[in-house]
Amino acid sequence: MHKPVTLITGTRKGIGKYLAEHYVNKGHIVVGCSRSPIDWKLNHYTHFETDVADENSVRQLFQMIRKNFGRLDNLINNAGIASMNHMALTPLSTVNNILNTNVIGTFLFCREATKLMISKNQGRIVNFTTVATPLKLEGEAIYAASKAAVGSLTEVLARELAPYNITVNAVGPTPIETDLIKSVPKEKMQRLIARQAISRFGTCEDVANVIDFFLNPKSDFITGQNIYLGGV
């Protein structure tokens, strides 16, 4: 049995870093990327400094995966950015940045990963949505909209890629105490968490649990699904 090759985007910190460690511990060969360098090291982990929305850099990353590993079993599209702001006060550059990273980045990685996966006639893709979309969070218009696009992309890709035995699913985390929410006032966060069926912060373990399920070889009949955490 070969070791699964798993590509995770946005691994510098937070959930992405946790997932890199999690899948290395599970015996995967993990390739990760982030825009800036990482300040940590891990065996069986290779890091790339890649802007997920830069087509050329993304192609180079996949060229390396093809050369060094010859295959890709799992793609986890974790890289994402948010910006908390009233829409009337949101600069266009913020809109472009969020759409580029969250939507274009997810699309580019799905496209290039698919090419590697089709040649082996198998693969697992996991995208990241957010509870901000179904909760219709004020101040998160573009973030929520970008993740709605990722949800839609997930559903359509699931159908397009099913003939190649590639599943495409999504996980929608609740707020987790990472950098992504550090600028949001505590009171606001508490009100948001109160809207969940299970009112607590999520953890990286909660996210990994759902991804483990999607990546499980037995989950080959599960595709086009989006699982929100916390009962949203």
Binding site: R59, Q60, F62, Q63, R66, T114, K115, I118, S119, P163
Partner: protein
């Protein structure tokens, strides 16, 4: 380079033919119809062909190409119409890459 690329395209069509009931008549060489009104490939087998050709080009020439680029999709005559048009299109892309 033309012959090398033609060989890659031919090999990939043979590989893709394994997925097809109505197989593309590769014995017609560069005139073998692939995709479009007289073509033998549906969109699923076109994806398999493109993936196979890109992989072989990258392996042989160490050049990652994206065949389904804006230019390919906007051309009046699709580069995916026949083995010959696809081979010529790849040659063009390779020239552009080497001059970039």
């Amino acid at each position: 380079m033309h012959q090398e690329i033609l060989n890659i395209v031919t090999d990939s069509v043979k590989q893709t033919n394994q997925l097809l009931k109505n197989k593309a008549p590769i014995e017609q060489g560069e005139n073998c119809p692939l995709f479009g009104s007289n073509g033998y490939l549906d969109s699923m087998s076109l994806v398999s062909l493109v993936v196979s050709v890109e992989e072989k080009i990258e392996k042989q020439f160490n050049t990652p190409l994206i065949l389904a680029d804006e230019k390919a999709m906007s051309q009046k005559r699709s580069p995916f119409a026949t083995v010959g048009t696809l081979t010529t299109y790849i040659e063009e892309l390779m020239r552009e890459v080497s001059h970039a």
